[in-house]
């Protein structure tokens, strides 16, 4: 785990990433809290908190006595939410840095186009 940010958020995010890239399919069982704790070498209570966060927002659901599963439609919902976050996490710092260097928005758009074509 990286330092600094609450670990349960990082656990939740790791699971979200697995759902987004298809490693964890919808209706598939998620690793147990204890498995997550042992794998990441973290406190089981913290792992549980991360999993519960995803249960609370509907990404996962609980089958009693069996474990946690990925909800149907979770992937699409996550993608929508991540798109909203994208602007805040990436676009805003991009604009701040651009302003510092005197790059105006038109020039910035042009740069993006050039880099996209060069890919």
């Amino acid at each position: 785990m990286e330092d600094g940010r609450p670990i349960f958020l990082q656990i939740a995010e790791l699971l979200e990433n697995s759902i987004l890239d298809g490693t964890l399919a919808e209706e598939e069982q998620v690793p147990s809290t204890n498995e997550l704790a042992a794998f990441h070498r973290i406190n089981p209570a913290t792992a549980a908190k991360g999993v519960n966060k995803l249960v609370d927002d509907g990404t996962l659901y609980k089958k009693r006595g069996i474990g946690m599963f990925v909800s149907s439609g979770a992937r699409a919902k996550l993608r929508g939410r991540r798109r909203d976050d994208f602007a805040r996490q990436y676009v805003q710092p991009l604009l701040t840095e651009a302003r510092k260097l005197g790059i105006d928005p038109t020039e910035l758009k042009h740069m993006i186009d050039t880099w996209e074509q060069a890919r």
Binding site: M1, D3, G4, R5, P6, I7, F8, N34, A37, A38, H40, R41, I42, N43, P44, A45, T46, K49, R88, Q92, P93, T96, K100
Partner: protein, 306 residues
Amino acid sequence: MSPVISVTDLTKRYRGGVTALDRVSFSLTENRIYGLLGRNGAGKTTLMQILTAQNFATSGEVRVFGEHPYENERVLARTSFIKESQTYPPVRVHHVLRAASLIHPGWDEEFAQQLVDDFRLPSRRNVRKLSRGMLSALGIIIGLASRAPLTFFDEPYLGLDAVARQIFYDRLLADYTEHPRTIVLSTHLIDEVSELIEHVLLIDAGRLLLDADAETLRGQVLTVSGPVASVDEFARTGTELHRVRLGGTARATVRGDFGPADHDRARTLGLALEASSLQDTVVRLTTATNGAAPAITGATSKEAHR
């Protein structure tokens, strides 16, 4: 849920006037892993000694499992205290383990043997001939295999290499998961245990500085750097713990109830933002209270204790 330990206004003064603990109050909830942190001589060992009735309080109230631990077998039989300075009679390793198994009602012999193998402890050897690291391993094995509902580890791994420490953390976590119990882990190696502990108690110069959920603490302490004016503005939203300055640039460690909005604000102010690790937080908190790190220091000042 009734607390496993509750401590009220605990004070310990040694003859000669040293105050090891100064009106310390807290309580511990069942089945959690606690990190008891603080610098050498902060009072951690004294606290654990009093909680296990091995030392005597000057004043204040101590309750363990709801009772006073002194001469109380009901409490002591459920407690295991592994300390760095533990001495053993000059007998063989398996004798020591046998003795520990007699004392602890929850002892798991199979687990103990497995740990002996894991740590490659020579069980026929006399404890007098064990290396420092092997002695530490012996203590760790006793602490884990005793499965006491309340287990204290006081700097349990002097002389243990990184591999052996990792074995300790892994076994501790796995066994705790299967057999939940209250564990108090006192250590200097904060980075190594920061993800194992659920709750942090920080003691400095006999006072309790911090009694906080480890996850809540994470993200509460941020280090921002950038133009002095921007740093000043951000620092106003919390308590500044430390600052270094280089020309018009400053770096400050600030504690506050920060959320995503504060992160955004720092970025808008053009500040670089870094969340402090638990270790950094502890270093900042313990140096700030000692007056060793005034609010503004020159860039040449070493960041203490790193």
